[in-house]
Subunit: 329 residues, 2 copies
């Protein structure tokens, strides 16, 4: 049964307000990995934390901050939705390695080494040339391993991703991306990456973002579950999870921010185009409160047993967080 | 016996290095309130935290971070010196009330509303006119009460201090200052302030900074203990503690930074003068590892019993931290 399992969405960046929290609550989701920043520097990241602290204060009946796997269990037990933070860029640390520990203490549990461009640490998936992990990147990986900040390579290029998996002494995550075999996109991941990730105990969160799905906005629940099943054939079920990349109720300015930050003078349309500049049409089976439950039922229908479906819907995220978050002495 | 008591110094800003930590360790001090910043803004405060995290990492056999009263007990039990942080200015929050909670989570347990000048929150003790707690200051006090960040009025003017005590729903501290009756200085505190502080459960940390002592650098241990005894006559022993203001091994550039920050084009000599611009001569009985033990023995010799001396040397700080640090729901 869906309700008995812990349910975790590995990435969302929706318009956060009380109505949305009530919908999350009704959906049976116990915890969400929330994107805190896309391009913000260290100082602005503090403001993002402060804004969320106010939401926690104002909606303490519905949501609570998550700093550990145990907090997710508390959220589930208390009927609240747990929120844990990740950065879709290494911008929160500016150029300062000591800010990894500082941001980890603040509650940044997960950090991408890059967004779509070259960063100080590695190469993003939209660049033409991928030179892998940089000098700073090698130290940053070691420091993230030490303080228990999870490395996320969702937006990074292939060589950078394989090197991160290799260099890191702890498993890493790809919180929101799909296999290339299901849909060709710069953001999706090769079999080589998925196998290397899984072989070292990493986790892959399947995305529900239409630009990354087979058949785009026409992707059916069956198409999605088939993709998950084929990935299970490749690497088993321990590494599989959901990272929906749900960006509900967001104005187009947010999409433009993600694509352009402050680096681009020319409008960058990302995976869209000037004639298709807006958000993709949402999936009818993954909008509103039934999304995760639909996936669970779809997985069981596809041939996963209830235990496997439970792992994919949240159990694997919980286990991954439990061994990834503690500080190393 | 000195060794059986918990020993806490309510303020230091020395040159932090392994030798110094070893001296602290040998002194029997269990925890120190360390000044993290004098004038630094929010972003630079993050760097100060990062620098200390590196010290904690490199000297983990000698020191440990303190985030709660229980951590001080752990420090004592494990034979390490606990370090807890305060700001001598409200500069770490910039102009943003949400940064109070953010800095509290980072480990800023104590914050002065002002240094010597007018701040966004209140008036510093060197200003000619003291208009008390500002509009922002009132909200900041409420927010500090809520998140369990201790209000410190060591450097603030009289009206501001009395208003802070009045407005705050939780006791406040004056971590490092002496009674005016013992020595006249802009930094020292009137009977009115000391009584109001103690009446609401606050704590006063007696300073060992020669410019704030009777007879300056010629102040004897007996002079110092006499000052403590007279204060006990005024308000009893529960509100009394030590906040040495020890600034050992610091170059004159640090003293200039404290006095001038980035606000003054003209060299400000503070309590010195152009012909007396440097650090005051240190007290022979409060330099090196025997300082706190000398005070303890001096207090007992002056007439305090061992329990009272133990409270003053650290017990009162521990009790104050225990009830001041938890978040209010």
């Amino acid at each position: 049964m869906y309700q008995q399992h812990v349910v975790i969405d590995g990435l969302q960046y929706s318009k956060w307000n009380r109505d949305y929290f009530m919908m999350l609550h009704a959906s049976g989701i116990h915890a969400v990995h929330v994107t805190l920043v896309y391009h913000e520097d260290a100082r602005t990241t503090l403001t993002r934390f402060a804004e969320w602290n106010l939401l926690f204060e104002q909606h303490s009946d519905l949501i609570m901050p998550v700093y550990s796997a145990e907090d997710i269990e508390s959220a589930k037990a208390s009927g609240k939705v747990g929120i844990f933070f990740g950065a879709q860029n290494c911008s929160p640390i500016d150029d300062e390695i000591g800010l990894i520990g500082v941001m980890r203490r603040q509650g940044l549990l997960i950090m991408q080494l890059t967004y779509n461009n070259q960063s100080l640490l590695a190469t993003g998936c939209y660049e033409k040339q991928d030179t892998g992990i940089t000098r700073f990147g090698r130290q940053a990986i070691a420091e993230m391993n030490r303080v228990g900040m999870i490395i996320d390579m969702s937006h990074s290029a292939e060589k950078s991703t394989l090197e991160a998996i290799e260099i890191s002494e702890r498993p890493i995550c790809i919180s929101h991306a799909n296999p290339l075999f299901a849909h060709k996109a710069l953001r999706n991941k090769s079999d080589t990456v998925i196998k290397a990730l899984a072989a070292k105990g990493g986790i892959l969160g399947f995305s529900l973002y239409p630009f990354h799905l087979p058949n785009g906005s026409q992707c059916t629940l069956e198409d999605f579950c088939q993709m998950v099943a084929q990935t299970a054939d490749l690497v088993g079920t321990d590494a599989l999870a959901i990272g929906s990349d749900l960006c509900l109720n967001q104005p187009i300015s947010v999409l433009e921010w993600m694509r352009n930050g402050r680096w681009s003078k020319v409008m960058d349309y990302g995976e869209g185009s000037s004639s298709n500049a807006g958000w993709p049409d949402s999936l009818p089976w993954f909008t509103g409160k039934s999304g995760m439950e639909n996936i669970y039922n779809g997985l069981v229908k596809t041939g996963f047993n209830e235990q496997e479906a439970g792992k994919i819907i949240g159990g694997n995220w919980l286990a991954f967080l439990r061994h990834s978050l503690p500080t190393r002495q």
